[in-house]
């Protein structure tokens, strides 16, 4: 139920008074309500759940996961050498 999928905003409009985005999920385009992430811009990635954008994806934070992995691998190399 709490499944939410990342997608890229390709257009923003106002539908029936609600801020609405067209979001590209790997080629499939769906509408999502943008009222909870009003400052998101075209080209940015958002996480979408039941037709609502919940959160913008922070690209720096996304890269940090892999920075931690690289750090871990470097430590392991050191321990082995």
């Amino acid at each position: 139920m709490c499944l939410a999928v990342p997608g890229r905003i390709v257009a923003i409009s106002r539908d029936d008074g609600l801020l609405t985005a067209k979001v590209d999920f790997g080629g499939v385009i769906k509408r999502a309500c943008l009222e909870y992430v009003p400052d998101a811009a075209v080209g940015e990635y958002v996480i979408v759940h039941v037709g609502f954008a919940l959160s913008r994806i922070d690209a720096d934070e996304a890269a940090r996961v892999f920075a931690l992995l690289a750090e871990m691998n470097a430590l392991e190399e050191l321990e082995r050498s």
Partner: protein
């Protein structure tokens, strides 16, 4: 897909599993709270990658599973009334009630519709002014902003034919209930990433402090989950008990403030019964008084229903992490996704359904022959 594929890298996953093996010096029991995480763990075989001593137990974070039987029966009764269009997320249609499920109602000719977004139900109400449109508003904090917005929009547009049957639940009181439960074994939690994207991490700090448990707010892909386990194991080994965010790409400490505002404008906190678990104080959301005319439980006369729970089902103990699906005598025999006895076998996020879909009822050697199943739902 960007922000998905790179978090499924097999090499990185094995590296993380090895790191967990290196760093864990004792057995540890870690609970993942969210059903989406449970599904991912079983689907990708993460539980089987971990060293033997590091045990993942599955928590109560499947809203479909914890929706009380009485609420399912109310939905069933309302869906059977004349002039009603009953709208629901797809997962709820096959949850067995005392007198059948919502899909059965649809088969009888009742107007039961699956919606992707709660706003779709509002549109149905706008287009069908002569029908009473009822939306089954269930879910955790992740879904509450969407459901709250649907109610707010319906009220603003004066759609008096739109109502919601509300059975919302909250994660922090459930974590407290598990920690306070008799014979609790859980020593650390993988916190629910999307719930925290909405609510932030503030509610989890006092739990971590009071109960001396690490809480690592974690994402849903294999790399996220393995990294969450590693960060939890590190805290356990050091004797730390803090809230740490692994899922930083979506979670900020204060959460989503506009969403929190709309939730509290529409809903208020109430005691809530969890299926198989019982009443947990202050663990749910209900409509505020201003929204009473949109409250399906008030509008429809469904107060006095007698409910009947199948005796063989141990979903309550499974939801609280006390038992596993394989501990149930009905698992994979009398209870399968085709004819489920309890809700944990229905939703793809229920532990029993995930175990069944990925062949955990079969010996390991037979599992490789299974077709790739992917029963994920929105």
């Amino acid at each position: 897909m960007k922000f998905v594929d790179e978090y499924r890298d097999g090499g990185a996953a094995h590296g993380l599993a090895e790191a967990i093996d290196r760093e864990a010096t004792r057995p540890w029991v870690i609970m993942e709270v969210c059903g989406g995480q449970t599904h991912s763990i079983v689907r990708h075989g993460i539980d089987e990658m971990l060293p033997l001593g590091v045990e993942l137990v599955h928590g109560p974070g499947c809203p479909v599973c914890v929706t009380p039987l009485e609420m399912i029966d109310k939905a069933h009764a309302i869906a059977g009334q004349r002039g009603v269009v009953f709208c629901s997320f797809g997962d709820m249609l096959r949850v067995p009630g005392s007198h059948g499920d919502l899909l059965g109602r649809k088969a009888e000719g009742c107007d039961v519709r699956v919606v992707y977004s709660p706003l779709d139900a509002v549109d149905i109400a706008a287009k069908n002014p002569d029908r009473r449109v009822v939306f089954f508003a269930i879910g955790f904090e992740t879904t509450a902003p969407a459901n709250a917005m649907a109610l707010r929009v319906a009220r603003q547009r004066g759609l008096r034919n739109f109502s919601a049957l509300v059975s919302h639940v909250l994660v922090p009181p459930a974590i407290e209930a598990i920690l306070n439960g008799e014979g609790n074994r859980v020593q650390a939690f993988l916190g629910p990433g999307h719930v925290c994207a909405i609510m932030g991490t503030g509610e989890y700090e006092p739990i971590a402090r009071r109960h001396r448990v690490p809480i690592v707010v974690t994402g849903f892909e294999p790399i996220d989950i393995l990294q969450g386990v590693l960060l939890a194991v590190r805290q356990l080994e050091r004797g730390d008990a803090t809230v740490h965010v692994q899922y930083g790409r979506a979670v900020r400490a204060p959460g989503n403030l506009p969403a929190q505002r709309v939730i509290s404008e529409v809903f208020e906190v109430c005691d809530r019964a969890w299926r198989g678990v019982g009443v947990i104080p202050a663990s749910g959301l209900r409509l505020r008084d201003e929204y009473r005319e949109h409250d399906a439980a008030e509008i429809f006369d469904v107060a006095s229903l007698t409910v009947h729970e199948p005796e063989a089902c141990i979903s309550g103990e499974i939801l609280m992490g006390k038992k596993r699906p394989r501990d149930c005598s009905a698992f994979g025999g009398a209870c399968t996704p085709v004819s489920p006895l309890g809700a944990t076998m229905v939703s793809s996020e229920g532990a029993c359904a995930a175990y069944f879909a990925y062949g955990r009822h079969l010996p390991a050697t037979d599992r490789r022959r299974l077709p790739i199943a992917d029963g994920r739902s929105p």
